[in-house]
């Protein structure tokens, strides 16, 4: 590698060619403040908080955008730099609804942190904010333009990763805003509610719709039995909210802390992930045997469902009819468990803890309720909201002793856990399908990248003579590519796993703020670690699932399943 000699604050170091000043400074232990920079995104260089002095340059240079050069002499803390940084932050604050104490991002905000660090307590400039309406039209995402610092991170996420371009720059000059075209309400756009924009927003301008209060009310209502389910991806990310190493598995602490909050029953969505595998696996076999629509597409990612319903409604027959594990769970809770414990569904309050914002949207779909009013899942909380609740209740997550899930829906297999990572549903499904068909155990699946189609991976497995080709994709820009292939009849796959969010659910839009690819990989590794640790690794070997079939569901794709575990989709082309 080509190494260059540079000097930062009088420290001489060698760094690789192509390194930005911002990253070079990290190597000598200097964190240059930054707002628009994001390690996984194209350099935008618009906030100008990260400026530094480069010897010989006429003006200050944005360290995120400037690559080091041989012999470069950089100073990151001169009076000139400090003044410019301060003024830039003060300028942002002067066009900002600065009310940190009542802000959703208080203590988790990039702007607030930098202001505090560089010693800006209030702006010397007159506040010029013209208050705009907060967009609360979406059941999942809330957009508060009064907090936006116009860094463009959300635009890049929505456009480059999700391929949707719902958000964009509107207007120019001092009037530039970041919002949907024509200033439309989010709910009137084809936004899929994935929440990826909220993960990268450094301030409180895009966040999830907060539903914490409803849950507190239910917990404190003596007439309600409050049941909570936790998604696979939450156990490998919640720790980050409390300063733990990314990728730390905190399943036991998660359960204990939910109990501490006062939930009556703590169950695991992994249980219905196993159930999904049984149902979806049999659906696939049925389609293969009876000449059904292929490739079959997975249906457990509600952001992805929003996408196909709005952008490719003609391809809806490809979609598996299985509900997502969250909704299977909700249906079982209200349609089976309630009766089992001698309660009416109205007395049950069903909460789910999800890494996802789109699941808030999904839970409010009419078909996901008993009668259009009593929903199978009453409230969806994101990982972030749960962390907030725990902080509100003063639960010391680091201290709390691990506990176990409640029976009967607390038992799950490793197959259920890996649902949380891209490729997990496919692997889990094939573990079961392969064994059902061949009677043998599936060895490691070997996925290979599809040439020329970045981000799409495929594999072949031999089901007793029938070669089945499968593929996996994550993020919607990639999903779009595969949908185009299907449309053109060029996708010779039998089964495709599609996840809306980069990395799968572990990279969901409800996960801790500031997610990066590096972090996602750590979470994925943790998910597979958790899989390995479990004694049962195949869905069809989960005794609790088998018991449920025996006692209640009778058989996969049976009448009860059809009623509780499967759904239908709507053409919502916009």
């Amino acid at each position: 590698m080509n190494m260059l000699n540079i000097k930062i604050n009088n420290k001489e170091i060698k760094v690789a060619k192509g390194t930005s000043i911002l990253n070079a400074a990290k190597e000598v232990g200097i964190n240059i403040p930054n707002l628009c920079y994001h390690p996984d995104q194209e350099v935008k260089a618009n906030c100008r908080v990260c400026v530094v002095e480069v010897h010989g340059a006429k003006t200050l240079q944005a360290s995120c955008a400037t690559e080091v050069k041989e012999g470069m002499v950089i100073r990151t803390n001169t009076q000139k730099v400090r003044q410019a940084r301060k003024v830039v932050i003060e300028l942002l604050l002067a066009n900002h609804d600065m009310d940190c104490t009542s802000c959703k991002k208080n203590n988790q905000c990039g702007l607030q942190e930098i202001a505090a660090n560089i010693g800006v307590r209030e702006s010397r400039f007159e506040n010029v904010l013209e208050k705009q309406e907060i967009d609360t039209s979406s059941p999942a995402i809330e957009r508060d333009p009064n907090k936006c610092i116009r860094c463009g991170r959300c635009i890049q996420m929505c456009t480059e990763v999700q391929g949707l371009a719902i958000l964009d720059y509107v207007g120019r000059g001092g009037l530039v805003d970041i919002k949907p075209a024509f200033g439309m309400y989010l709910n009137n756009t084809a936004c899929v509610a994935c929440g990826q924009c909220s993960v990268v927003c450094p301030v409180a301008a895009i966040t999830e719709k907060e539903d914490i209060e409803q849950v507190w009310e239910a917990i404190n209502n003596p007439n309600k039995t409050v049941i909570v389910q936790t998604a696979p991806a939450v156990r490998v990310s919640l720790g980050e909210e409390f300063g733990m190493e990314p990728g730390k598995i905190v399943t036991g602490k998660l359960v204990a802390s939910l109990r501490a909050l006062g939930f009556d029953k703590i169950f695991d969505t992994d249980f219905t992930a196993d159930l999904t595998i049984i149902e979806e696996g049999h659906e696939l076999l049925k389609r293969l045997n009876e000449g059904g629509t292929l490739p079959m597409l997975t249906s457990c990612s509600p952001g992805w469902i929003n996408f196909i319903e709005q952008y490719y409604p003609n391809l809806l027959p490809h979609l598996s009819s299985c509900k997502s594990p969250q909704q299977m769970f909700g249906a079982l809770v209200k349609g089976y468990y309630a009766e089992k414990i001698g309660k009416s569904p109205e007395d049950i309050f069903s909460v789910s803890i999800m890494p996802c914002t789109a699941k808030k949207f999904e839970a409010k779909r009419e078909e996901m309720s008993i009668d259009g009013k009593n929903f199978d899942v009453d409230v969806v909380l994101t990982t972030r909201e749960l962390a907030k609740m725990l902080r509100q209740a003063g639960v010391d997550f680091n201290m709390i002793e691990e506990e176990k899930y409640d029976a009967p829906f607390g038992l799950s297999s490793g197959a259920g856990v890996i649902f949380g990572a891209t490729g997990g549903v496919m692997e889990a499904a094939l573990r079961t399908v392969y064994e059902v068909v061949t009677g043998k155990t599936l060895e490691n699946l070997d996925f290979k990248a599809v040439r020329g189609l970045e981000g799409i991976k495929e594999a072949k497995i031999d089901l007793d003579g029938t070669i089945v080709k499968v593929a996996i994709v994550h993020s919607l820009s990639k999903a779009k590519k595969i949908m185009e292939l299907i449309k053109e009849g060029k996708a010779d796959y039998s089964f495709i796993e599609i996840m809306c969010c980069p990395g799968g659910c572990i990279g969901g839009g409800g996960q801790p703020f500031g997610g990066t690819d590096e972090l996602r990989i750590k979470r994925i590794n943790a998910i597979y670690e958790a899989d390995k640790e479990l004694p049962i690794r195949k869905s069809h070997e989960n005794p609790a699932v088998n018991k449920l079939y025996k006692e209640f569901l009778i058989e996969p794709l049976g009448e009860k399943s059809h009623h509780l575990l499967h759904t239908k989709y709507v053409d919502r082309k916009k």
């Binding site: 260089a45 618009n46 100008r48 410019a84 003024v87 300028l91 002067a94 116009r150 120019r172 001092g174």
Partner: protein, 422 residues
């Protein structure tokens, strides 16, 4: 430097002497002779000649043109592009419009020679959308040049092929900034974007790109015809050649003038512009357009010379000179200039977008008579941050006029301070 001729008609020599719609008249006035000569030379020879001429860009930044061309020639990547910047959005400037309307082929010939020297096959002329007449004239001229074989496949049987497309900018002032111009041609909104170092290595579609101002290109045929050495004798040692001056404001004879570089501002105002009307006194002069510095009457002897002006932190930019007499309200002018930038800012970066809003508020405090010493200090810190931390030249230059007024006419501000708080 003593024998500087105030009026020196090189680029404007054919103005009104030929019909701009007639390529034949251009040819009969020595037109396309430089192209013919160039086609017999190598690219390096041509670039060396331009380097010897010491020609600097006329778009504002005065970057040496030969060095820019050399960078494009050496840059890795193909295809390469050449762009003539005819966006001319700077208020007070109208030289490029005249050059296009009065002698279009001079520009085209200059572009072709540069493209040939740097082995470029595709060219664009980016013309400001409001210049409808100029657009039509340039269109016609390009077509005529194609018919005559100066453009298109196998130019004059040299084996070299090149063509030029016209692109009209519906956008704003900032579209003239080179990165904003590039993204506009690429079909994205005209915002100055961060791109790696310079267009010469990564310009249009991330390919090496030569961008020059209209007037810069117009010099090229003359350099080829007279030789770089001869050309370098015109003007001063640090600023060679002539400069088109768009003279306006409180002046008896406003208009476009071509002067030898090294001419003083006072001579331009008095000898070409015939002084100011109504026997009034000059209060100040803005040089280079809205983004240029403002100087007081007692500095008018300064010469159009990059080096000399740089010593005083001045530059002549694109060559607009706006004269203001003693009736003007200095703060009112500054507010209007600032409003212009506020309107034209693309809004991408914080110092420019938010800074201009705050500059207007602070300036208002002075005109409203409620300013304090703190306001003045804050204004100065703000403007420094805009100079230092904005992405592009618009935000960097927007405060210059105000800063120069503070340097030369500080009392205009201090007189209006109502309290000296701490």
């Amino acid at each position: 430097m003593s024998n500087i001729e105030i009026t020196k008609n090189i680029l404007t020599a054919r103005f009104d002497a030929i019909n701009p719609d007639s390529i034949d008249e251009y040819i009969s006035h020595n037109g396309y002779s430089a192209l013919k000569k160039s086609l017999l030379k190598t690219g390096e020879e041509i670039i060396n000649d331009i380097k010897t001429s010491n020609l600097r860009g006329r778009g504002g930044a005065a970057f040496p043109t030969g060095i820019k061309m050399e960078a494009v020639l050496k840059a890795y990547g193909s295809p390469k592009y050449i762009i003539c910047n005819a966006d001319e959005g700077e208020p007070g400037n109208f030289k490029d419009r005249y050059l296009m309307e009065k002698d279009p082929h001079q520009i085209i010939e200059g572009i072709i020679i540069c493209a040939y020297a740097t082995d470029i096959k595709h060219g664009y002329i980016f013309i400001r959308g409001e210049y409808i007449n100029a657009i039509n004239i340039m269109r016609k001229a390009l077509e005529q040049a194609r018919v005559k074989g100066y453009l298109g496949d196998n130019i004059l049987d040299s084996g070299y092929s090149f063509d030029i497309e016209i692109y009209t900018g519906a956008g704003s002032y900032v579209c003239g900034e080179e990165f904003a111009l590039l993204v506009t041609i690429e079909g994205k909104p005209g915002r100055s974007t961060y791109k790696p170092p310079f267009p010469t290595t990564s310009g249009l579609y991330n390919k090496p790109t030569q961008i020059n101002n209209v007037e810069t290109f117009c010099n090229i045929p003359h350099i080829i015809n007279m030789g770089g050495e001869e050309f370098s004798k015109i003007g001063t040692s640090s600023s060679t050649g002539t400069k088109l001056i768009s003279l306006s404001g409180n002046i008896i004879s406003p208009g476009l003038y071509e002067v030898e570089l090294g001419t003083s501002i006072r001579d331009i105002i008095n000898k070409l512009g015939n002084g100011i009307p109504n026997n009034r006194k000059i209060k100040m002069v803005q040089i280079g357009g809205a983004s240029g510095p403002i100087i007081p009457e007692n500095m008018l002897d300064i010469k159009l010379d990059t080096k000399e002006m740089k010593k005083l932190d001045l530059c002549f930019g694109s060559g607009a000179i706006i004269v203001m007499d003693d009736r003007i309200d200095v703060l009112d002018i500054l507010k209007r200039i600032t409003e212009f930038f506020h309107h034209e800012s693309c809004g991408k970066c914080t110092p420019c977008r938010e800074g201009l809003t705050q500059m207007l508020i602070l300036l208002d405090r002075f005109t409203d008579g409620i300013a304090t010493t703190n306001d003045l200090a804050l204004l100065e810190i703000l403007m420094e941050t805009m100079n230092q931390a904005s992405i592009c030249g618009l935000g960097q230059a927007a405060p210059i006029a105000t800063q120069k007024v503070l340097e030369y006419f500080r009392e205009e501000f201090t007189n209006k301070i109502c309290s000296t708080d701490s």
